[in-house]
Every structure is written in structure tokens, then in C-alpha cells.
């Protein structure tokens, strides 16, 4: 942290590539996401909802093409970018304070999950192959899987929300997949300014094969609709209610999508990044400690 060459700032390389390279168990020569079914099918995503899917995401280059449009940063021709972080500038959250150190010029780019390359390694390939075969069998377009990432020995499938329900049935019931338990369903808000900032994360567990996978759906905050998983996994009931309560994701088809942790008449969704933490300053004699979200932060 306090290396002589990088005092305090530790501007590391963008976490994206390192995340992919350290954990992707790949043969170096085999490459290109061209052999990934998901990315070869650009443009086949013909769901009527796909055009409006990106909503007002400011970074979407062509709103009409939405899901299948390659973004500039995704040279492989894959689906739109998944930004999972906020660009940060300067240090300590201080701006315009006559910085003479130069740290104010630091820019850290937002991270994006790097598409994994075949082979994914271990049983990941088997699961992916089985999934894509089952999708083809049931008429789900391969573009329903927008991206596959492998990081920290976990595999993540980024899905288009139009096909989420069909995919959930597949991963639960296909004899080669059998993800019987929806271990955790929850949300992540990547903050204002991030395209499709609200992510719904499904951590699925196969008790038959003793495997875990993650499904992730990204939606825009202006159109936060995701089909409910309750028909497939009844355990999703409360978990989706919590995600609605905390992040404001609307799960279409949920039997009773009401607040669960906050009072019924609460306004706002507390775990969104633009919702303040609250708190009051702590006063001492001659000094004051700000509320936790008002204090300076180091990164």
C-alpha cells in the first residue's frame, strides 16, 4: 500500500484485466470469444422488449439496437458493456482544494467484468455446454446469455432479462444442470451514471453436482423490471421482496411485491448508492466528527 513508487495512491492497473487473467484457467492460444455462442449471435436478440431494455442509460451508444449492440469498449462484438464500478478521481473525495500534490489528477477507471475465454476450466465448460445445448433445445436464443465471466473460481452468466424465466427453468430442471436451490437472490446498485446500474444477482446451488453458479441481470434504473423467479424458485419470494425494498427492482409476476424490511410507507430504496446513509455528526469539545457518509474517504 505504501510502496515507495506509489505512495498512498496505489493506482493499480484497472482491475478488469487482472481479474480475468489471474483466474481464467485458459490455454493462451485458444481464444476469441468468437467461439462463444453468446457473442457470435449479435443481432439475433429479437425480443420486443430488448429495444427499451437499456432505457435512458446514457452510455448506450445506439438505443435502438440495445442489447446486441457492441459497445466501443467491447471489441469482441459482444453485448453491451457491464460496468461494475464508478470512475473515481482524485483522492480523499476532495475536489477543488488547491491540490499541490498531484493526487487530485488520479483517475481510476470503472471496472468491467472481462468476458471469459474457452476453456473456462474445470466443470465450468461442462455447465456452459449443457446450458447452451438446453437453450437451443428449448428455443431460447443463445444471445440470452450476454456474457460469461470466470473470476475467483466462480462462473457468472450475464443474462438478458427477457429470457430470464426460461433460463431459470432450464438451470433448475435440466438433468445436466440441476441447480435446485436458489441460495441467494439479491441486488447490487453500481451507482448513478453507470449504464444499467441495477444488477440482480442469483446465486444458484446444485446439490446434485455440488456446484455453484451465478446469474446476473442488469437493468436500468428508469426501467427496473425483472421477471420474478418465484414460479421457478418459491424461495425467491422474500428475497425478491427485499431486493425491491432495498434497491427498487420490480419483479414482474411476484405474488405480493411489498416492502419487507422497511415500513410499508417508506419512500426510497435505502441500499441504492444515491440514498444517503444518514447519521448525525458527533460533537466533541471544539471538534466535530461527521456522519459516516460525510467523512472523507480514501479511495
Amino acid at each position: 500500500m505504501t510502496g515507495p513508487q506509489q505512495p498512498a495512491g496505489e493506482p493499480r492497473p484497472t482491475p478488469g484485466p487482472e481479474q480475468g487473467s489471474t483466474t481464467t484457467p485458459g490455454a493462451p492460444g485458444l481464444s476469441s470469444s468468437a467461439d462463444r455462442p453468446a457473442s457470435t449471435q449479435t443481432g439475433t436478440n429479437d425480443g420486443p422488449g430488448s429495444a427499451e431494455h437499456q432505457g435512458a442509460g446514457s452510455a448506450a451508444p445506439a438505443a435502438g439496437q440495445a442489447l446486441a449492440t457492441p459497445t466501443p469498449s467491447d471489441g469482441a462484438g459482444g453485448p453491451p458493456d457491464f460496468v461494475t464500478g464508478v470512475e473515481r478521481t482524485g483522492m480523499f473525495g476532495v475536489h477543488g482544494a488547491g491540490d499541490t500534490s498531484g493526487y487530485g489528477l488520479l483517475v481510476r477507471e470503472p471496472s468491467t467484468p472481462v468476458p471469459a475465454e474457452r476453456p473456462y476450466g474445470g466443470w465450468f465448460d461442462e455447465v456452459a455446454d449443457t446450458l447452451f445445448a438446453a437453450m437451443a433445445e428449448r428455443g431460447v436464443p443463445a444471445a440470452a446469455v450476454e456474457r460469461v465471466t470466470v473470476a475467483h473460481s466462480e462462473i457468472t452468466f450475464y443474462l438478458a432479462r427477457e429470457h430470464l424465466s426460461a433460463l431459470l427453468w432450464i438451470v433448475r430442471d435440466d438433468p445436466g444442470l440441476r441447480f435446485e436451490l436458489a441460495a441467494s437472490i439479491s441486488g447490487v446498485d453500481y451507482g448513478p451514471g453507470v449504464p444499467r446500474r441495477l444488477h440482480v444477482v442469483y446465486e444458484l446451488l446444485s446439490m446434485t453436482y455440488r456446484r455453484r453458479i451465478r446469474l446476473e441481470v442488469a437493468v436500468d434504473v428508469d426501467d427496473p423490471h425483472v421477471p420474478s423467479a418465484v414460479p421457478t424458485y418459491p424461495t425467491a419470494d422474500w428475497q425478491e421482496r427485499e431486493t425491491w425494498d432495498m434497491f427498487g427492482v420490480v419483479f414482474d409476476g411476484h405474488p405480493a411485491l411489498t416492502r419487507i424490511l422497511m415500513p410499508d410507507d417508506w419512500e426510497g430504496h435505502p441500499q441504492r448508492k444515491d440514498y444517503p446513509l444518514g447519521g448525525i455528526p458527533v460533537e466533541y469539545k471544539g471538534a466535530e466528527i461527521q456522519a459516516p457518509d460525510q467523512r472523507r474517504s480514501y479511495s
Binding site: 441460495a183 447490487v188 418459491p234 424461495t235 424490511l261 422497511m262
Partner: protein, 462 residues
Amino acid sequence: MTRSRTPETPGAVPDGPRHSRETRTTEGRMFTVTGGDWDDLVSEVGGEPAGADGGFESDERIIVNMGPQHPSTHGVLRLILEIEGETVTQARSVIGYLHTGIEKSCEFRNWTQGVTFLTRADYLSPAFNEAVYCMAVEKLLGIEVPRRAQVIRVLLMELTRISSHLVALATGGMELGALTGMTAGFREREEALHLMEFLTGLRMNMAFIRPGGVAQELPEGYRERVQAFLEVMRSRLPEYDKLLTGQPIWQGRTEGIGVLPLEACMQLGVTGPVLRSAGLPWDLRKTMPYSGYEEYDFEVPTATEADCFARFRLRLAEIHESLRIMEQALAKLAEPGPVMVTDRKIGWPAQLSLGSDGMGNSLEYIRQIMGESMESLIHHFKLVTEGFAVPAGQVYTAVESPRGELGCQLVSDGGTRPFRVHLRDPSFVNLQSMPAMSEGGMIADVVAAVASIDPVMGGVDR
């Protein structure tokens, strides 16, 4: 049993020697009942002549609101029961009374401080919350915890499992009227907490497990204390069999009650003792081992009755297994080694000792950072003020807590604070099965069913 939470309106207090207070609202008549005999209330309510403002019609819906402050709801849990006579036709639970925003608060503290919040989520199994969070942070960092730290974690987790199961037995017993079960359970739990205090410094919420290992080496004499605890527990556990297992009243209250078959468990995502009581030997310690659990020799008790009695027996059996694991962990601790990663940029400086003015950094450590090593001072300063940065990414880890799969989903954006922390708490998920367990049964059996789920509201609401 509370039948109304609406404030009393003036003039609503009826005259006469009544146990209940009646309020008339647009929703119908409401009664606030605290204590007293249920039969008295029923006869009183039903005894009035039916009419425009009279007693209940025979087909009138009666909705009983139980909690959130009620001795039999296992915490600040509110149950809404639609009853017909004493039979529950529909049951719903209302939660959120203990929501403290732990997940959000974590986003405003550094990674190490997150432990201090999460240990307070499910306050009866603090070691598990700490361990699962630290395992997630370590997965993001890509670091391996020293072996001795893993063994200490296992020791603490199993000790916590024992104390948590004892509370489950104790409060469950209390809620079903077995008060001696309560006193016995809390007596033994006190032994467990005393040992925890000796080992970590605090009885509960100890934040002893840190990213990278554990806070510090176990104190001198830990071996004898753990050994003594094992002996005490082994001598006292048979009492529970005498007191509860073979007791006809206890059996009558729990056998065949709150049945949740395996299919329902799978659909509702129920894990832990409730799932194992339905016959599936799913225990993450065996099926997806972590922290070196594959090296320990222990059984996963299962049952097939899927009722409250089976869950009670499983918890008792799991205490015995946890004692076995603790014994094996103690043997493994004979081998010395570091308890924290040696990377000075991650390992929190916690070389504590007891001084004349209380617990603080040890004198040797202060001498080192203040007088001997500039680097040490820099590391200390950077860690304590800024913390360490964690590479961007997302992970999910899971451990077998006393109540089932406790998962931790972590997202980092590369900074020194968590970007998102989510606890998949087994109490939260398992509590969804309350209606399936109790609809169609008696009101008294709802209490037994909830007690057998053993939800801890600190974990449910977080």
C-alpha cells in the same frame, strides 16, 4: 396475545372484570389481550349476543396478531394468524422490526471494520458471520489463510454452534412451557460464552476473525479451558435426554408438529437442521468443505420425520458432533504457526495485551512501531486509517451456520471499502416456511414450528 396494535380510543375500555380491551374500528372489532385465559376471552367474545354491534357471528373471520413483542415468537417477529376456533387457517409473518441497515453501513467502513458490523447480524452465531465475510474478502484478495488460523476459526465456529443450539433448545423449551429446559440451556450456554470470552476477549460479537486470519493467538491456558469445557458439556448433555428427549409432554408438543417434507424444503430454500430433519444429509461442512473441514471426523445427523421433534433431536446430536470437532481442532492446535497472513499490508496489527489501563497494543509492539521500524509504523498507520484495497470483483461464499447456509455476497470496486455486502441469512430464508409448517394446525403448534426453525431476528432483518 395481542389482537390489535391500534391505540386505544377513549371510551373503548369496557366496564366489568374483563381481561380484554375492546376497540371498534372500520376493520371490525379489535381486542388487545395481554395474558389471561384464552377460553375466558372466547366465551366473553362469543357470549355477547350477535347483532349490529354485538358478538362475533359464527362465520366471522378472526385474525390474531401475535407479536412483535411476545414471549413466544422467538424475537421481534410478528405473526398474523387467521384462526377458526383454535385452528390456524392462514399464517403470515411480518419482519423488519430489527432492521438496522448493517449491509449499507458496511459500505462506509473499511474492509476490516465490516467484521464488526456483520458479527452483530445473527447475534447468536457471530463467529459464522465473521468467518463467511472474511472468507469472501480473502477470496477477493486471493490470499490463503494460515493453517492455524483456520483451525482456530473451526474451534470458534463449533463453540458458537454449541452455544447457538443451546439457545435454540432453551428458548424453544421456554416457548413450549418447558421452563427447566430454558434454565438448563442457558446454564450450559453460559459455559460456552465463558469459554468464548476467555478465548477471544468477548462473549458475543467478538470480531475475532479478521480478513487474513484471526486477531491474535489464543491466550495461554486455552488448552485446559477447552478441555474442561468439553468435559462439562459431556457430563451435562445427557441431562437433556432425561429432561426433554424422553419426556412425554415434550414429545407430545413436538412430534408430528410443523412437518415440512423434503420437497417443500427444497422449494422454499430451507437449509440447516430443518432440511436435515427431512432426510437430506446436506451439510456444507461435508458437501462443500471450507476452512479445512474435510480433515475432521464427524457425522451429519439426519432424521426422516421432518417434524419439530426431529429438529430438536438433530440439534442435540449436532452439539455432540461439535464437541468432537472441537476436540480434534484442539489436537491440531498443538502445532504452532502464524494466525494471520504475513503480508503486513493486510494483516491487521492487533498485538494486544492487558495493561494497567485496560486492553491495548502491547508494549513490545509499540516499541517496535515507535522506536525500531519506520516501515512498521507506516504499515500500522496505513492499515488503521485507510485499510487495504481489495481488487474489483464479486464473490459468494457460504458456510454451514447453526441454522443453515449462511452466504456472503461481496462486491468490490477496487477500493478500501466494500462496495456491496449481502448476507444470505438462513433465518431469513427459512422463516418463509412458517406458513407451510403451521397452516392447518393449532395456534400452540405455530409456536412449536417457529421455535423449530429457530430464526434469529438479528439475522432475519440485518
